[in-house]
Symmetry: C2
Amino acid sequence: MTAEWTERVLDQARAAKAASRTLAMLDEDSKNRALLAMAEALWERRADILEANRLDMADAERNGESAARLDRLRLDERRIADMMEGVRQVASLPDPVGETLESFSRPNGLRIERVRVPLGVIAVIYEARPNVTVDSAALALKTGNAVVLRGGKEALRSNRHLVLALREGLRNTSVPEDAVQFVDRTERDTVDVLIQATGLVDLAIPRGGAGLIQRVKENAHVPVIETGVGNCHVYVDASADLGMAEAIVINAKTQRPSVCNAMETLLIHERIAAQWLPVIARALWERGVEIRGCERTLAHLREAGVAAPQGLLAAATEEDWATEYLALILAVKVVGGVDDAIAHINRYGSQHSECIVAEDGEAAERFLSAVDAAAVYHNASTRFTDGFEFGFGAEIGISTQKLHARGPMGLRELTSYKYVVRGNGQVRR
Amino acid sequence: MTAEWTERVLDQARAAKAASRTLAMLDEDSKNRALLAMAEALWERRADILEANRLDMADAERNGESAARLDRLRLDERRIADMMEGVRQVASLPDPVGETLESFSRPNGLRIERVRVPLGVIAVIYEARPNVTVDSAALALKTGNAVVLRGGKEALRSNRHLVLALREGLRNTSVPEDAVQFVDRTERDTVDVLIQATGLVDLAIPRGGAGLIQRVKENAHVPVIETGVGNCHVYVDASADLGMAEAIVINAKTQRPSVCNAMETLLIHERIAAQWLPVIARALWERGVEIRGCERTLAHLREAGVAAPQGLLAAATEEDWATEYLALILAVKVVGGVDDAIAHINRYGSQHSECIVAEDGEAAERFLSAVDAAAVYHNASTRFTDGFEFGFGAEIGISTQKLHARGPMGLRELTSYKYVVRGNGQVRR
């Protein structure tokens, strides 16, 4: 990347910082009016956006992108209407900014309040889905933050026109247009400039695959929130209601296998393995799930004489325990009990979502307390780890780190706080 | 550093991680008993510790370290007793772990609780003061975290013997000794190994000068909390009670100039500058403070005919506005009013502690709301930004970033949370 472009990205971060100062002082109504104007502008500009998307799609097809990627990239009027609706929903949520989180007085008479404030400037680094552009901008503005968007190459034209529309929408509102910045280049260096812009960018959020997240984490100098890698487990205890266990396992693996809160490894208590493994294996195979089993799993299936459909049974390797398949593949392991399950999960899990199916309350509480993850479940599918399912009304990602935010991140998680201290001349002795 | 040492530091992080699993499950009493045992062991081992410190001091003297640095390094029985007392105080504080932060139900019957949990493993990277060793270990253990300590070269022997004592103290308690790890090498690479140990270290806290913090921030792959750089301002409005303003300015600058919450720049409203500048300048000079003034400051002092003592008056350069002197030097600037002051602070400040002295309530509220800092003060000294002054009973540092924790960090800020979700077979549709 040329030095000129480095400077240009920094200028955008500076403009975002300046805009964030104005934005931080706006009341809820002003921000909501700006959000509704952005939604309107998306619809008014839909012809330009769809034309830009058509060109992106044509390139992607020429480059032989997969059907799944093409689907993620594709826009139509319906999807633009969905984006508008998403922005309107964000506008309708309560504004967390300004909330007094606590307030106390000190013996010297100082009155101290802890007040929720915006973070400032959020850099969002993402991949192919153009709806992330609109979604991130709406969530950032609602919480009084400016945003610098850096999307993927495939969606460059679509994103450019989405942002043109969003900024046009802001033109006659009290939110400065500069609150939404779009980095109109896709060289990797543009990411580095952004995530190393100490003093300008207050938070970087990578939204995408493990490779993107890793790169951002390793190169950032600004704070990062790690999202979305989910190597999730379901542990079925000897005490489990096996009907419930089957429903949860099937749901967690097959309802939407490509997402981070889908299950990747099934752990089964050894006391029920011989009996239940053939049952659950057949149910999984019926749905096209490939099983990668530990030695005991394979032995039990062999002994039960169940025949796996072609290609749907293999021996698990060490690597399988650590893999997020995001596909109809499931690692299966027989464990000695709840402590064994906890140890396995704490070793291989990505601290996302972990479930125990058990009727034994003591085992369940032990699991919930000892498993180190953003969300721990007793008798429910891991698929519920989601800002909407948790009732937050919005979600910018699911944090798998422990600093600042853990699990589904809604509006609240896009804010910080400050201490406001009022005195009458106090000095320190 | 040899590959052997890299592996050794990683092994320590792994041992800390394993210990953190046990520690996270302990109740408050068990942790408190371990803390008290650590305090006892410090006293029992005081001869070894003081002998080690004597050797560190001898080296430091030979190397011509400054009196201030020698004082920071020096231990004696009194200081060991103070450390013990500090550990005991930490033991007496309420344990934040296990607190239910919120709890709600979803229409599908899921019951969701957000529960405070330890972070896991905290790496503390620090410089010369050996009391940071004891302090960090106590705060980490109290909050159920394991700690990996990496102190400065000057204090290597002192720190080694402090940690030997702490671990000895843990020997007959339910806290595993491995919860306190000491990196017994001071090559820079040992820091890099620690702060890049993704999956083992959950948080790195650099405690020291700006150089150390910068290096950690730029090289870390794990989350970092930036602490302690304070370019703090006091703005004296035209409406200020000037007696109060003088008391606050003198306190904020001179009561302890070497700390991060001391004032570094004084901003004065232009309407009172001609009258008040000579007054405050004389008061500062009497206390040996050098003034680096903007052009208008210098002109006002010249016109008033006040003579500066030798070496205590100079013209401020651009660099002065951005400098944290940590010494008896004060940059002084005349500004057009509260908006001008806000703009200056948001441009040059380090988002630590900022104060307005004003009787005009509207100006004060504007300042408190628009200034972007961890702590904003109306009519009180910036020196109060401190975990003890805020009543937290402990402090591991003062965060100047916006993620996770802002301002003084007490016990609560050394924790994370997890979502505990209880169901009766819910699956996602």
